[in-house]
Amino acid sequence: MQALTFAPPPPPNDQTEALRHEVRDFLAVELRDRPAQKRAESWSGGDPAFSRKMGERGWLGMMWPKKYGGHERSALERYVVLEEMLAAGAPVGYHWVAERQSGPNILKNGTQAQRDLILPRIARGELCFCIGMSEPDSGSDLAAARTRAERAQGGWLVNGTKVWTSSAHKADYMILFCRTGAKSDDDRHAGASQFLVDMKQAQQGGMTVRPIIDMHGEHHFNEVSIEDLLLPEDALLGKEGDGWKQVTGELAFERSGPDRFLSSFTLLVELVRELGPAAPERAAVAIGRITSHILALRRLSRSVAGMLQNGEDPALQASLVKDLGNSLEQEMVEIIRLLTDAEPTEAEGNPPYSVVLAHLILTAPSFSLRGGTREILRGIIARGLGLR
């Protein structure tokens, strides 16, 4: 059985708490007029202008080297900014993926030119990234990906289809996962690579982005078809054939943050507002239970942040945080809806609480799908336990 231990999280200090107050002061002004129904969008809600302001404050790429526009701050300081943003319902969606995983991936695996070109712009809040992983026949089973890049005159010729690609219609870059070689008999993860794709250029040369509207009526997803797209030689990210290893290296960043247990936090805030201090005992117990879960998860999540900073590979711990966190985010909606008699609706003119409730009901099913399904995460945990 693999050790499923969580290192003690880095303890808060004067510096982190001063930063926390700085962020709160900033948000008090910036979000003064942001209504609850917009806050409820959590990190799905984005605003390029807000991302640039965060960049100006030095709150993006906080842990990266200064020569790439970073700020060489600690994992805990970055964590403070992340959780304060999410708890307040700030519109962080524009830069979220870029800052969370694409930037760290480029920092680790990119060429000097790629780092110089991309990282300072992510740190300024100027770039939106999308992740080209899922395909029509490759969802949870990433190794089944069929999109292929072949060596060609002047670079790589790419063909295939990506789907469920969040933000592809807005993104400046995609990190594309595709086949560049054959799977071997004993390793079906072999022969994959990652590419850094300039979305504007790509859409002039063989890439087509089509919207997929979700059941909530929103446009986050896209289908991205790629036909004879010629990528320059230097679009390869990392080593040819190392795609699987690089993708799994991103997962700990992707799965362990406060974005994996605070997606429904605005609903809890609005519930507390709705009930007031004289809420019945039943509500106090339910709210206490949610709060108790958040406090335990926050410790686990900060622990993973510290392990990442120390260069450990907490992929297993991250899966566990995401599984517990997603379950809580979804359960919160079901618990909270029973504590008032409000009926959920997003129609205009209804009280914010009903609108936020409806928003969460209609988006919560995605929480345990995006970034790795519950079943896949539990499979990873079971492997860590020595069962597979």
């Binding site: 059985m1 805030v269 117990v285 206490g288 108790s292 686990l300 945990i381």
Partner: protein, 348 residues
Amino acid sequence: MTDQLADSAEKLFTAHAGKAVLGAAEQGVFPQPLWDAVVEAGFTAALLPEEAGGFGATVAEAMGLLRISAAYAAPVPLGETMLAGWLLARAGLAVPEGALSIAPVRTKDRLTLTRDGDGWTLTGTATRIPWARDAAAIAVLAEGPDGPAVALLPKGSFTVAHDRNTAHEPRDTITVEATLPAGAVALANTTAAQLRAAGAAIRTVQMAGALSRVLSITIGYVQTRVQFGRPIGKFQAIQQNMAILAGQSAAALAAADNATDALAGTLSPLLVGSAKARAGEAASIGAGLAHQAHGAIGFTQEYDLHYVTKRLWSWRDEFGNEAEWNALVGRAALEAGPDGLWPLLTAA
């Protein structure tokens, strides 16, 4: 805690807290060799400040030892002795040798101190007192004329009616009508709520230890038990449940660490309460999944699992169950209000 300290604890409990000892303890036999070894190793003094007889261990190290003892279901009052020492030291009273316990542990039970010449009289009844029959003395948080006071009540100065929890750990009723010398009583420096919180922290740490053992026993079982031609751990249904069990164990450990921080700090009721409630919930889910994976064998006296699950089923209720602590936490959240809720959590 250091690997060395953890190793020495693992060795000690492996040597002295085997199946025969656990079985005999359920029949009412106090495991004297185990207890002597625990005392000899200094574990009972781990939570004490050095000036009160401690050896300079951190609170986290003391709780690490307690967690390991619980993983072995060690049937001794290590947590209670630590807690009594903590209560006595905070009151400036000397900590005696031997097994100790605390009273009261139920919110409605009261013990009252009245002046009696130069000394004191302590009277009252307290139920569910852990290990009272085996304790050399009980540290009592009593109501005194000048506020809460701690009294050291030696063996023989109270009567004991046997009672127990689901794991057959002593949870006795004590009846007290005792005359105590002046030196056995001091102003408490601890409120009833704080003692309850410290007790809850202790049980949270124990639950985390017991649940980690539930996980390791169960993983070991599903890797070896063969049905339909393969180990049952190869079936996805079992794997998914084991992942849930591992998640609950991790959450309980995080809760225990939060409780440990609180015990080392200001005993934040929010931090302790949330930890006790979270670990209690993890205990319920985890014990259920473990027994389900084991089938009938896990339900037998012969097999080890019940020594830890039966403790979990009592510890989750002792010093306040999930409903009690969640209500307190939830009330704090409601009072903080919509704008104060998040700051409340980050300050916990």
